[in-house]
Amino acid sequence: MKSVNSHQELLKILPHDDILQQCMHCGLCLATCPTYDLTKMERSSPRGRIYMIKSVARGEMELSETFAEEMNFCLDCQACETACPAGVKYGRMVETARVVVDESIHRQKYSVKLKRFLLRNIVASRKALKFVSGLLKLYQKSGLQNLLRKTCLLKLVSKKLYEIEKLTPVISDRFSDSNINEIENPDGKSKYKTAFHFGCLMNTMFADINQDTIDVLKSVGCRIITPKDQVCCGSLMGHNGDMEFALKLARKNIDAFLKHDYDFLISNSAGCGAFMKDYAHLLEDDPIYAEKAKIFSSKVKDVMEFLAEHKPELELEPKPEPELITYHDACHLAHAQKITSQPRDVIKSIPGIKYTELDEATWCCGSAGIYNVVRYDDALKQLERKMKNIEKTGAKIVLTGNPGCMGQIKFGAEKFDVNVEVLHPVTLIKKLLS
């Protein structure tokens, strides 16, 4: 029985029994889990999933479609990690379980192959991503998008495709890798040696935010190195069952950055920042990269984390229109990086600001990497909840530090007809730089 042997080989990549055993099934995670909240069923809870993973790892339970479904139903938002007093690393467990599912029972699935192909060959390849983005831009600028949307032609093909099409982000006019110089010097005296990771999606779809980040960093005295040979951080692959490829990208980034001299590596995308901070852990058994990864990860900082420490150096004009502003925590900032107070501190320190707290601010918006595309209906339920909370605040601007959340909430504002502008905090700060 060859398949069984390879299954058992595969199971070895699941976390060691000592780590799985750490969950003492107290259930304190249940209240924070968006999927458990939807179904009220134990199998959709972190505790239930860990119990299932443990049974699979111990060879007591077969890999099944139900198992696969629950692993993929999880948003991997890691709110349960924040809630877990015992310090169980749930995210890693579910991610490795996804690898096992994708490599075994779903190995022949068309959607798994396609997902892997797209992530490996389009998202991770800057050339290909720029090419596809170019096509998308053409689609958006030529009027074809408008035509399709107005005529609802896609609806005839597939209702879901018609809905998902609306998630297509607006492609930036110019991409960051050509906009941003490899070395950018500060406006005044050079005080901090920083490096910048411009991301894959940020590069083509949110190039303006990258530019804003550079401008804001320059204003507080940062000299910024942006290596041209940097690559995608690998998080989308890592979270979606392709850790092998993610680690390849990690090594490339380590090589690209560590040849430069810097103290802080700034990221403006929560997902990338979280994953790059995790390189140290992911590569701890790599004989060549373990030490380098440790150094690399120790320097990674989210842009708001960095700015919170340099608030006094931000010289801002008071905000002219006193609109109400709120903040949505990206899961990969709040739960993966435990950064919640810093962005709020910075935002509240902006002169002339009216800030209001968002109910359930740390509850996932449903974006969750590519979850909103591959599990559109499930994601929509989380989004609806998020939009209701945003609407309740009466805020005209919602700030959030992750491209995925930004795209999702923009889509939600349109879909649920909520009059709110979605901005990255650095964009707001950039506008007010004196």
Partner: protein, 486 residues
């Protein structure tokens, strides 16, 4: 090859009857679903049910119970599954009835200060809802953000505020439940006084799902205290903290909470919350006083003086509501945070009369040394309810055995001091072995007689609290007796 553990006892005919009773979408019997309802929050106990049911109304529950009587299978009710005595762990040949979807607050009566809820309402959510209109539901078990009112009533849950405000039973005005024979019992109501017949309501509270399945609960709510002061006192010596507690009680002050944490617990919590708890202190006390303005200030001053007299090395006062909440939330994570040291944390809740607290704390320290187990100790010092927690690994059978020996010792000492084996977690599976020692033979016999009259065929949560007939119950997971034979 995979070890097949997927055998079932229940015949497929019974299963299809159950399925048609609740409908396809509310019936689950896959291996996965049975697996994830095989446990609750209690360490080391697990047993797979035959099926998991989400009934939609009282009538369906009634039908399930009638069928259980006919076909002789067991029914185990379950809320969020955060219990700590195995109360909702399935038994052999059983189905689990899950009530988490029954989560509506049906009525808030501001004139009578009552609230009518379905059993699946989460305790913390109920509290937030009533606090919005200036009212207060005091019982606050550690798992309040997850656990359900149905489970709270079934286990007579306590919590941090028990000292001043009492426990769940002090707030239950009425209960509706489906009896084991399928009848719907309604007892109690909005009357503040009611002596018509036996007091069935209080009898149901704490019956651990052995007498019926709770479907509605009427709760008393009270006005929210106007002012709250939260204090945190550090102690270099464990015994000083215990003496401080006794002195505060003796000074005729009733704080709303008085929580004790030992050094092991402090360090595990600090690892999780990182709020600057004193890692070197032997103990801390978290004290809260609430009520009307000036009285609260006076009480807190007296308490501070007593704390100082008992050599508290530092006394912190929470300056904001969020700081106070942070401290209480940190305390509530104690049990789970202890799992940072070792994966299997066996938590007990031996309780003694308050005057005996210093002795009990000493006995617990002694048991850890004597039986060579790591024990973290914390608990509701103000009401004598301690939570000594053995830090073990269930895969190490010898260690588990040592832990159980230590607890045998602790329970015996508690009983000697006039205490009890469980203050708020319930007897369930994990403490039934000790019940006779505490309640005496006549007491346990009376309980058994009541159970056998109400539940003739012993179908509802059998084997919990006490054993009636091994015939229906089958073999139970890891009992103390079995452990001793190892």
């Amino acid at each position: 090859m995979f070890e097949k553990k997927n055998f079932t006892i229940m015949n497929s005919n019974t299963k299809s009857k159950l399925k048609s009773l609740v409908g396809d979408t509310n019936y689950f019997d896959s291996y996965e679903d049975r697996l994830v309802y095989s446990y609750d929050g209690t360490p080391t106990l697990h047993q797979m049910p035959e099926a998991v049911l989400f009934p939609q109304d009282e009538e369906q529950i009634s039908q399930i119970l009638k069928l259980a009587n006919e076909e002789k299978f067991a029914v185990v009710p379950r809320g969020a599954g955060t219990g700590l005595s195995g109360g909702s762990v399935p038994v052999e040949n059983s189905v689990v009835i899950v009530l988490t979807k029954w989560n509506k607050i049906l009525e808030v009566d501001e004139k009578n200060l009552t609230v009518l809820v379905q059993p699946g309402v989460i305790t913390g959510i109920l509290q937030k809802e009533v606090e919005k209109i200036g009212l207060f539901y005091p019982p606050d078990p550690g798992s309040l953000n997850v656990c359900t009112i149905g489970g709270n009533v079934a286990n007579n849950a306590g919590g941090l505020r028990g000292l001043k405000y009492g426990v769940t039973k002090n707030y239950v005005l009425g209960v509706e439940m489906v009896l084991p024979n399928g009848d719907l019992l309604k007892t109690g109501g909005k009357n503040m006084k009611d002596v018509a017949g036996y007091n069935l309501r209080d009898f149901i509270v704490g019956s651990e799902g052995t007498l019926g399945i709770i479907t509605k609960v009427l709760l008393k709510i009270i006005p929210k205290p106007a002012k709250v002061i939260t204090l945190l006192a550090y102690f270099d010596k464990l015994t000083d903290s215990a003496q401080a507690v006794s002195d505060i009680i003796a000074a005729h002050i009733t704080p709303s909470m008085m929580e004790f944490l030992d050094n092991t617990t402090i360090n595990c919590i600090e690892d999780y919350v990182k709020i600057g708890l004193p890692r070197n202190s032997e103990a801390i006390l978290l004290i809260e006083v609430d009520g009307k303005g000036s009285a609260v200030d006076e009480d807190s001053e007296i308490i501070k003086t007593i704390l100082q007299k008992n050599k508290a090395s530092l006394i912190r006062t929470a300056t904001t509501e969020s700081e106070s909440l942070q401290l209480k939330t940190a305390r509530r994570t104690a049990f789970s945070a202890l799992a940072r040291k070792k994966p299997t944390t066996i938590l007990e809740d031996a309780t003694v009369p308050r005057s005996e607290l210093p002795i009990m704390i000493e006995k617990i320290t002694q048991s850890a040394k004597q039986f060579d187990v790591m024990i973290g100790n914390f608990g509701h010092a103000g009401d004598g309810n301690l939570h000594p927690t053995a830090l073990t690994d269930e895969r190490d059978k010898k260690e588990i055995e040592k832990a159980h020996r230590a607890f045998d010792f602790i329970f015996n000492e508690a009983i000697k001091l006039g205490g009890t084996i469980t203050g708020e977690h319930g007897t369930g599976l994990s403490k039934k072995h000790f019940l006779e020692k505490l309640a005496g033979i006549p007491g346990v016999e009376m309980m058994k007689k009541i159970k056998s009259v109400i539940d003739e065929n012993n179908i509802l949560n059998p084997g919990k609290i006490f054993t009636i007939s091994p015939r229906c119950e089958g073999s139970l997971p890891i009992r103390r007796e079995q452990i001793k034979d190892l």
